[in-house]
Subunit: 466 residues, 2 copies
């Protein structure tokens, strides 16, 4: 930024402060300590402090903030729990971070229609706690206790997507404050609609670049009669994957089907104090009636037998289940603990299921040949897997090797018709991959939409597009 | 249109003919007989002949046609089987109809990835015939033997959406020729993706106003081990609906759950030579293993018992099933047969399931009070129902009464958070309702997107927006 630009930028920001600080009181924050809290994320990108942080408590305030920022050309970076992995809410020194976590009310629970409406700062765990007495739950589970707004914006999925779908399938309607300050409502409370352009899906996965979600209507699902979960060790990773592929091709309605390679199992054992055999394994969960669970279990075991599967040890004990899934959800800190003072770079791709074996085995051998430490875990029922590179912050050679593996994962995924990210989004980390995946023409359509709705480019700039 | 405008329009059209006629040979059609074939639809709107019809056979030709039309500002109306109901592909005398039915190749069937890729002119029945030997099927079933391209464009659903989702859930990727002639590809063959804006869902349901779909990648599903279907008579329509509501709230995975009121049953009996008891009833289908089907049937029967349900007569005989669903799919001609030389106006709304009873009973009594003939049928598991007004073409009073009922259906649906159309789309018939449903701000966002991608407004003009 040149000196005159900086002066202009400072002028804009102090103008903005003059409007917003009195209106928001202590929810306008510009001290170093307050701003520094907004650097963090679960990702590996080095992020910048925003110029200020605002914490709106309702849609009116979001409209006020957005309008004031838009009038002065000040960039806005909406954020939630900041658990995203690709720098999706990375700030810049001339931007204001809009922290949505104070908008965390559950607005409606309508069990009779299997839906609820929430503000974007509600977390998925918070929502499910609130739902406990209704016999319903919100299934989408990316592991981290993300906010619903963040999950909408990254089109999150996670362990249960194989059965219940991702955010794409579970968001019915949104209210969004647009970059020009207008408030719109997309979608309805009906299960389906053919009325006009599908704006709900346009904003789901837009990573806050088209507007700020201020409330969301979500589909809920009945808590199953029985939940049975457990671990299923395999002799080889390929055997585990072949079993997954067969199960998906059979259409078995498994509720969770997670792969951990031996490195990931070892990391989990150490971090979560488990004593799992350190071989590749599947974490499995079945939902249903006792009879259907028996049926699906029998089918799974039959598939596993030909593929080197050992016993499938399912339990219906809630404590054991919690322990299991807590261990799976702790894959990221468990990976961090593998290298003292290391940084973990988590990447993901998603491929058509028939190519999953090839994709993972190719990645595993590249990692091994490069001498990297990197557990592989995955929502493999979806064809989606993650590599957690455990890297020394200063070791440039190691980072270069990881970049190399990441690039190969993406190139291979695209070559078989897959995608450069199944659930983390593009953020700042995968902008080139987006271009490779969709091609210039499709990306230019995305940019035309962005330009139409945000001509000044103030809304979460620098994300998704190069 | 003023005289000078007409002259300008004629000039444009003859310019276009000079380019396209030599290139397309007999697939450029401008005789009265050829153009007249493109007036028809299953809807009640009086349509206009297009100025010419083109029948492209590949994406290159679609690009050529669109580019040539765009350069001359000639409107384009893409169409498939023309089974849509809201004038979604109504032409105008200065437009060319782009008949996509000659692009009807199945491009890929990948059973290992549960997907296929097809050209837009493939019909759903044609596709399922082709899939017969694979153990897979494409579930979305709007009744009519629509083309896949048309089903994408109206975001169609139908009898099986309650279990398998609508086109929204079953389209993975598209290739689209944009209004400026560019070809883009949206989506991938992976089950999910978080890479950039969800263009696939933007074009799904856009009714050809943003571009022409030239191929589509679709999700396939395994043919269930057992299919059991049959009729389930109820003492009252309310009892049938209460049973549906309870089944949905329990999360019973019913594959089809169709309501026919007594008027609809009588019409089906007459038209399809059945002998069903002329009371309200559900047409039910269950998919699964013998054990799960037994379980779901037992659950259903239990729900029905408290609501005046008689015996649920399920059969696994394929011939009987075909007969049953053929009768259900013939609801439209059956309604037409109720009034000699009558026109049938089919409308649909969709409401949150808890309001379904109120919505239908209110509509039924309005119909009866108005003295109209109008069977009610519905994909009630989704909260979606249809009224088939049987009207004398010249009886203005009757049409006014029908308009009145239609307006009330929409007003009520919107008042309970529903939508003005569950699956027919907006076309020319529900443009005002779109505005009521989404409000000015959201509709203006749709228009901004339309304007960004189609600044000349040549792509299926006059649809969706007033």
């Amino acid at each position: 930024m040149g000196r005159s630009q900086i002066r202009l930028s400072c002028q804009r920001l102090s103008d903005l402060a003059a409007v917003l600080a009195p209106a928001l009181g202590d929810r306008w924050q510009e001290s170093d300590a307050q701003r520094a809290a907004f650097i963090g994320s679960e990702g590996h990108h080095s992020l910048t402090m925003p110029w200020a942080v605002v914490q709106p408590i309702n849609a009116d305030e979001v409209q006020m903030v957005v309008t004031a920022a838009m009038n002065r050309g000040v960039p806005i970076v909406p954020c939630g729990a900041r658990t995203s992995l690709e720098g999706n809410c990375a700030a810049s020194s001339d931007a204001i971070a809009v922290d949505m976590t104070k908008m965390n009310r559950i607005l409606t629970i309508a069990p009779e229609d299997l839906l609820c409406a929430v503000e974007p700062g509600v977390t998925r765990e918070g929502l499910n706690t609130e739902l406990r007495t209704t016999g319903l739950f919100f299934p989408v589970d990316p592991g981290a206790n993300a906010t619903i707004g963040g999950m909408i914006s990254t089109r999150a999925s996670g362990t249960t997507a194989v059965r219940y779908g991702t955010m794409r399938e579970n968001v019915l309607a949104l209210s969004v404050v647009l970059p020009d300050g207008r408030l719109i409502r997309t979608g309805t409370r009906a299960r389906k609609s053919a009325a006009g352009y599908d704006l709900t899906h346009l904003f789901t996965g837009a990573e806050g670049t088209l507007g700020i979600v201020v409330d969301a209507t979500l589909r809920l699902h009945g808590v199953p009669e029985v939940v049975a979960s457990g671990v299923w060790p395999f002799q080889s990773i390929d055997g585990a994957i072949q079993t997954v592929i067969a199960a998906m091709q059979m259409g078995l309605p498994v509720a969770r089907l997670e792969l951990l390679d031996d490195v990931a199992v070892a990391a989990c054992n150490r971090y979560s104090h488990l004593e799992l055999p350190e071989t590749p394994m599947l974490f499995v969960e079945l939902h249903g009636s006792p009879a259907t669970i028996d049926e699906h279990r029998t089918n799974l075991e039959e598939l596993g037998r030909g593929n080197g599967g050992r016993a499938l040890m399912l339990s219906t004990d809630a404590d054991e289940q919690r322990k299991l899934w807590r261990a799976r959800h702790s894959a990221l800190p468990a990976a961090r603990a593998l290298g003292p003072s290391s940084v973990v770079w988590t990447t993901d791709v998603c491929v058509p299921i028939s190519n999953l074996g090839k994709a993972i085995s190719r990645t595993r051998s590249m990692i091994d040949r490069a001498g990297l430490t990197a557990p592989i875990v995955g929502h493999v029922g979806d064809g989606n897997f993650h590599v957690l590179f455990v890297l020394r912050p200063e070791d440039e050679e190691e980072w270069a090797k990881a970049r190399n593996v990441n690039e190969d994962m993406i190139t291979f995924a695209l070559s078989v018709g897959g995608t450069c990210t199944g659930e983390h989004g593009i953020g700042i980390g995968k902008r080139e991959a987006l271009q490779l995946e969709h091609g210039d023409a499709a990306v230019s359509v995305m940019k035309q939409i962005k330009q139409a709705l945000d001509p000044k480019g103030i809304m979460n700039p620098g994300k998704i597009f190069i």
